[in-house]
């Protein structure tokens, strides 16, 4: 078992790297909390910065705490593939939602708001009316 984790012979050295990793993570947390108070341009910029710091923290946890650095590469490939396919799913979703365009009927007054009987299934208020205001 101990053959393949080469620096197991020196637990002190390994313990020190873990402490160092914890400190880095705490610092990164402090940075991200601090960054949230500063206003970087638009709201989207804040989100991007917060997510990049979170990704850095995630990579640090994965490499050191989850031993991906000194482990067989197949585990790292599996981990990366998981996130990669999540990214594919998000990418195509935002491609579709982003490029949809908000079509509205141009020259029509909305049909009379159908009296929405309370709680009756299947005959709610016409959405056209709601969209107008």
């Amino acid at each position: 078992m101990s053959t393949h984790t080469e620096h197991a012979q020196d637990p002190q050295k390994e313990a020190r790297t873990y402490i160092l990793t914890l400190v880095t993570l705490l610092i990164l947390t402090a940075i991200t909390v601090g960054a949230s108070y500063i206003h970087f341009g638009s709201g989207a910029a804040n989100v991007v910065i917060a997510l990049t710091i979170a990704t850095i923290k995630a990579i640090v946890v994965a490499l050191f705490f989850m031993h991906l650095l000194h482990d067989k590469p197949v585990n790292a490939i599996i981990a990366v593939t998981g996130f990669l396919f999540l990214g594919i799913f998000l990418m195509f979703d935002f491609i579709d939602v982003g490029s949809r365009g908000n079509l509205q009927p141009t020259n029509l007054h909305p049909p009379p708001a159908v009296a929405a009987p309370a709680g009756a299934p299947g005959a709610p208020a016409a959405p056209a009316a709601e969209k107008k205001e």
Binding site: M1, S2, T3, H4, T5, A8, P11, E14, A15, Y18, I19, T21, L22, L25, L26, T29, T32, V33, A35, S36, Y37, H39, G43, N46, V47, A50, L51, I53, A54, K57, A58, V61, A62, F64, F65, M66, D71, K72, V74, N75, I78, A79, T81, G82, F83, F85, L86, F89, L90, D93, F94, V97, G98
Partner: protein, 232 residues
């Protein structure tokens, strides 16, 4: 779902094969290292499915943020940063104690392993307490998911965005909390076995695998924290 991880590692009192080898080695593996590596692959595959499950919720959250930009930003104000940050620190520390437990198990220090494991369970408990405090705050304010949402004083009254935000808040933190509870159960069971000295440098697979699971739970919170608490 994740209680199955317990079965990922081989049966501790596996019946010994014909030729003398470690009692933990199962009959269809030739060496203990092959068995350990196989368990590691199995665990990482399971973690990939967890990443995609939580990912589905993150995708839903991102798309709903795109649908209700103003309501979501306003709803973020209801979440205080301090408990969120405290929870992040607690989970990072618990990850540290977890990895020290794995190191101790690998270097035949049974007592130290048990102590670190109980420390991790303790941190998890603190996390749940902070979570409980936040949830009670939400219940009092009426910030409940879906049709139970009855908070007053929203800027855009009547918009369903707030209820959707808090539905996702409770779904994601709830599912994460469930995983923390499962982790606490597994870690306590591990600590008991560590106390009995079942783990050595020859056989510490359960500690390593449940450690990986715990680090993933921490990793999910690392992403949850900025998305919910740090958006202004």
């Amino acid at each position: 779902m994740s209680t199955s991880t317990v079965d990922v590692h081989p049966d501790p009192h596996g019946h010994g094969g014909e030729h003398a080898h470690d009692p933990h080695q199962q009959h269809h593996f030739t060496t203990m290292e092959q068995q350990f590596d196989t368990s590691k692959i199995g665990m990482w595959l399971f973690l990939a499915t967890e990443v995609l499950t939580f990912g589905g919720l993150f995708a839903g959250f991102g798309l709903m943020q795109n649908q209700y930009p103003r309501e979501f930003v306003e709803a973020h104000e209801q979440l205080q940063r301090l408990p969120g940050a405290a929870n992040t620190v607690v989970l990072l520390v618990s990850s540290f104690t977890m990895v020290m437990a794995v190191l101790a198990a690998r270097t035949n220090q049974a007592a130290k392993t048990a102590r670190y494991l109980w420390l991790t369970v303790g941190c998890a408990g603190i996390f749940m307490c902070i979570k409980a405090y936040e949830y009670t705050h939400k219940f009092e304010e009426g910030l409940l998911p879906g049709i139970f949402y009855h908070h007053h004083g929203d800027l855009i009254a009547g918009s369903h965005g707030y209820a959707t935000f808090f539905s996702f808040y409770f779904m994601m933190t709830g599912l994460h909390g469930l995983h923390v509870l499962i982790g606490m159960g597994l870690l306590s069971w591990l600590a008991i076995r560590a106390k009995r000295g079942e783990f050595s440098d020859k056989y510490y697979t359960p500690v390593d695998l449940i450690g990986l699971f715990w680090h993933l739970v921490d990793l999910v919170w690392i992403y949850l924290f900025p998305l919910y608490y740090l958006i202004s």
